[in-house]
Symmetry: C2
Subunit: 369 residues, 2 copies
């Protein structure tokens, strides 16, 4: 840890997000939004234009810092998240990441046969230096305002892209391989699990104060397959993760979209917090896993297209659902407010202000009740 | 009921699907597949070509009969399902259904404002005569070989298409209306619920021996909204549904894709059986709702792209999961084998034979164990 990073840590002015993840009582419910630095912000689009491309933006620490800070200039968010792509790790493994406009990510050299998979190796961390540089630069730019979250895709989610070669509506290629040659998928997942934990640990050393694992496609797996091919390797990642750095605890969050049915197993994966999507009843989730983990979520992102009254009502309902009849600080302890999925690129920016301000005001009132 | 239909009923040679839905012991586990009459079959594509268009196929009872019977000629399936589209009801309400090649369904006159919604009326059943004619013709063509399932989209699923005007990745239009003007959505859903129960009752009178409600987009709703906007109207449909016709019990199935977390509420909706997708553990589901309902599902449709050994293993695992350690006929009683979603149009037809034959042979062995 550099002296500067240490200063940042000592001077953290708003640590409510970290305290909520430790399930300590807080004065109000902290809030941040998945994909909060993104296309719904005109200033993000302007920076991206200057960067020339999505990868030009993501691979340049100065640009990444600029866009990571943009939502904090508009909204009273309680955490910043590293701006990066979940596919940096397989890109550094040599798969050749590219973004085709309107089509999303593409790998030039996807894993399609046994030879490709046997040749797969963990990346050289030097090839991911731009990520760690961005983490350090964002930490300095934040100057202790709020904590910085580092992140990675889960081993399974990375494997989906690595085998499919891009996004997919049914994951037919990777799932067929999983069913026919589970040994090959297990090999990819083992390499990914080691790479992800190394990658997240390097983000922590560079200054990330919490980390999140996005298991975006875990919910595409059948029960049974989820435990064998996704959860098992999430556990491996957490088992090798630093939980402390420079004397500070580093909390972690796992989020499996569509994984509500597996919440007990996710709560037991080694993460400090479990992210939940909007299909989950937060009160019921708190009863099931709240004694073990903080909960993050879970507003339907589409609410942000509705009017002020509807946004405000829905935000209050999420907080009420979590409080589950409790009063005072116990009502909100252990909850990090978020959407149940990344914010839509079409979201009106003003809607986010209504949301953030409602979460703060309403939860502060509830904590005093 | 016509004399012919009565003959068909009396002569039903294979009633194992109906018995499983009544949770009576069966000699083996019945199996049918959602979208079993579909594009993965070359003979379906040939008929569709002759029909000129998808709607030309769906609206012509002779063609609908032909394609409904096609999968039964190839596989030992235990039920037939009416070939139709889930959007026939809103089409008959005057919304103007069309199919754009490669884009799916489109309504020419979607519901976009209060005026559209206040003008919405239940359809004249005469405009849906082609569906009931198809039901009668399929029953005659089946000649008692297996039972015929009628179906409808759920009130909420129909409303999604009616307001969006077609498919959607995030249902932004209908959900924004739901959050801002719940009164308008409730009005659409009330009309839909009455229309769907009338529609299904007319299918039953025309000869459908079981009915299924496809709540395809229920899983897009947040917890709370699901109960208010989807489940409530599914209950209304079942409350008005004939449960008996011509002295025979008419069982019903409800399927909410992504609805595993709400299975108790779905089991309590009035349906005889609950369809489950592949993210659900069938053994756990049986413990939770198996005393109340039959269960239908829940193989990942992507399995059908794998090799014979993998398909066969996965089919056995679903049956084992349902049996949950039981032996003999109790191991399989109350289970209708199906996929957890419609079969993919890219499925190799031979894979379906492997699946159906494995389900029959393995479950028959288990029932004798």
């Amino acid at each position: 840890m550099t002296a500067q990073a240490l200063d940042g840590l000592l001077l953290l002015k708003n640590d409510i997000f970290l305290r909520a993840l430790r399930r300590e009582p807080t004065e109000y419910t902290p809030v941040w939004l998945m994909r909060q630095a993104g296309r719904y912000l005109p200033e993000y689009c302007a920076t991206r234009k200057r960067a020339g491309s999505f990868l030009g933006l993501a691979k340049n620490p100065a640009f990444a810092t600029e866009v990571s800070l943009q939502p904090l200039a508009r909204y009273e968010l309680d955490a910043a998240i590293l701006f990066s792509d979940i596919l940096t790790v397989p890109d550094a493994m040599g798969l050749g990441l590219d973004f085709v406009e309107g089509e999303g990510p593409r790998f030039e050299r996807p894993l399609r046969n046994e030879g490709d998979i046997l040749a797969l190796r963990e990346p050289d961390l030097a090839d991911l230096g731009y990520v760690f540089d961005a983490v350090g630069e964002i930490r300095r730019a934040l100057d202790g305002r709020v904590p910085l979250i580092g992140f990675s895709g889960s081993p399974w989610t990375l494997a989906c892209y690595m085998v499919e070669g891009g996004g997919s509506s049914d994951f037919r290629t990777v799932k067929t391989m999983l069913y026919e040659r589970p040994d090959l998928i297990h090999r990819v997942l083992s390499v990914n699990a080691r790479a992800v934990s190394t990658y997240l640990n390097a983000q922590i050393e560079a200054g990330a104060q919490a980390v999140m694992v996005f298991d975006t496609w875990g919910g595409a797996l059948a029960d049974g397959a989820f435990q064998e091919f996704s959860l098992r390797y999430i556990r491996e990642v957490f088992a090798h993760l630093k939980t402390e750095h420079a004397g500070e605890e580093i909390p972690s969050i796992v989020f499996t979209k569509g994984g509500g049915q597996w919440m007990e197993q996710l709560a037991d994966s080694g993460a400090s917090g479990v992210g939940l999507d909007w299909t989950v009843n937060l009160g019921a989730a708190r009863r099931r896993i709240g004694a073990q983990c903080a909960l993050q979520g879970n507003l339907d992102p589409v609410i942000l297209f509705a009017n002020e009254a509807a946004i405000s009502k829905a935000a209050r309902e999420v907080i009420d659902s979590y409080s589950d009849g409790r009063h005072g600080r116990q009502a909100i302890a252990g909850h990090v407010f978020n959407l149940g999925h990344g914010i839509s690129q079409f979201t009106p920016p003003d809607a986010v202000k209504i949301l953030v301000d409602t979460v703060h005001a309403y939860s502060a009132d509830l904590a005093k009740s």
